[in-house]
């Protein structure tokens, strides 16, 4: 082909190339699930991957709902809390409940799945238009109920769950994190390394960021001086900024101590870092209630990184990748 023709053709191509300048764009999807906003980010713009993640999350939302009658054929936390008869649940839900049942012994009782009546009591008080502290007698009764493990316990046989006694289930302290753990496989199946799952700003799952050093930056709403740089890991955060009320100078949070029945916040923020998002979510609650020393002990035993801030002092350890802001 002659030079002139080649040149003419090449010049003609340029405007077309200008018009097509575009690559894969990041994509996010958000949905209100588990009474909070869950957002998934796929930085490579994989919509099919995100669709599947949210389809699974939506299914879990039905299973973990404690406040509404589930659709026909679905056995949820609501179902279990409204009967003492055996309930056949899905295998994944049974696995979660089994995990929750194993935690009280590993956390010196600071985590208890049958805390439902106690948290409901505090929720009623703290969420009122004029927040109030529940009656101490009611709190004591709820604590006694939890402590009476002879009559109040969860029996799990395969996929059959039987709630004995009057204490009710509350999966709020572990549900979001567990669900993120369960959907993590979708990103692996789609070979999507660059992702971020944000479960209501308190449970997170991080892939590997596609630029720079591959880490995602986490900052805290309660702490202006520190942050975390994370990749290929999970993070559970418990903090007073999620829900709190100040009554007579005392800050109360949504995190209730099952041993004492108190919702007075002993800390401002506590975080757990590890591979298992469910464990991190549960342990962040435990760390929040346990205090700095116990946090270190439990975190070390569990092989988790930790961050603890009580308003004056900040501690971290077990490899938590903290940086100064």
């Amino acid at each position: 082909m002659r030079k002139k023709t080649r040149f003419s053709l090449l010049s003609a191509v340029v405007p077309f190339l200008c018009s097509c300048a575009s690559g894969a764009s990041p994509l996010s999807e958000s949905k209100v699930l588990f009474d909070t906003l869950v957002t998934g980010y796929s930085n490579s713009g994989n919509s099919a991957c995100l669709d599947e993640v949210f389809a699974e999350l939506t299914e879990w939302d039905q299973w973990l709902d404690a406040f509404h009658v589930p659709p026909a054929g679905v056995a949820s936390i609501y179902t279990i809390n409204h009967t003492n008869e055996p309930v056949t649940v899905s295998a994944p839900l049974a696995e979660l409940l089994f995990f929750m049942n194993s935690l009280p012994s590993q956390t010196e009782g600071l985590f208890n799945p049958l805390i439902g009546n106690l948290t409901a009591l505090w929720k009623e008080g703290l969420a009122a238009s004029t927040p109030f502290v529940p009656e101490q007698t009611a709190i004591d009764a709820a604590v006694a109920e939890i402590a009476d493990t002879e009559h109040n316990f969860l029996e799990i046989n395969g996929n059959t769950v039987t709630r004995h006694g009057s204490a009710t289930l509350d999966v709020g302290a572990v549900g979001k994190g567990w669900v993120l753990r369960e959907v993590q496989h979708v990103f692996d199946d789609y070979v999507e390394p660059d992702y971020l799952l944000d479960g209501g700003s308190s449970s997170f799952l991080f892939g590997e960021y596609g630029k720079g050093d591959g880490t995602y930056t986490v900052t805290f709403s309660d702490l202006a001086t520190k942050g975390l740089k994370l990749q290929k890991t999970a993070l559970g955060v418990s903090s007073i900024s999620e829900q709190n009320a100040v009554i007579n100078g005392v800050t109360y949070s949504h995190l209730v101590n099952p041993l004492t029945g108190s919702a007075a916040a002993p800390a401002v923020m506590a975080s757990a870092i590890g591979i298992d998002a469910g464990l991190c979510d549960a342990m962040s609650t435990v760390f929040f209630l346990a205090g700095a020393e116990k946090t270190k002990a439990i975190a070390t035993k569990m092989g988790l990184g930790y961050v603890y801030y009580d308003g004056t002092s900040f501690v971290s350890g077990n490899g938590a990748p903290v940086y100064d802001r």
């Binding site: 990041p26 909070t36 906003l37 700003s201 630029k211």
Partner: protein, 134 residues
Amino acid sequence: MTVKDFFRRHAYDFLAVSSVLVLSSAALVYYAIPKREDLIASVFVEKSLLATYDLSKETTERTIEIEGKFTPMTLGIKKNAIAVLESGCKSQYCVHQGYVSAANHPIVCAYNEVYIALSGKEPVNSVVAGVMVL
């Protein structure tokens, strides 16, 4: 003139036509491929940036009034889409485009010198922990 002579005479014309046809069609096919992406709309008036909207965060459809160079305009915004709903220009090209939801597909009102650029968002690599969003 025989058919062969005709094609020989117009060979380079056909080459030009086919090049345009192939390249344009390829571009249009590329445009037509549906892509879900988070979009940011930047509204420019007379080359100055007037406003930026994160369309991925829009939950309901809403309208926004802006001042073009000569007449006011009404923009419609919804999740990952933007449109010019009303304009005082004569040609109304901008209005006829309807809602646009593809990155790099601009909406232009030449009369009012309004340019709406749609771009994909930057990858997310940071979060704030501890704030309940609902």
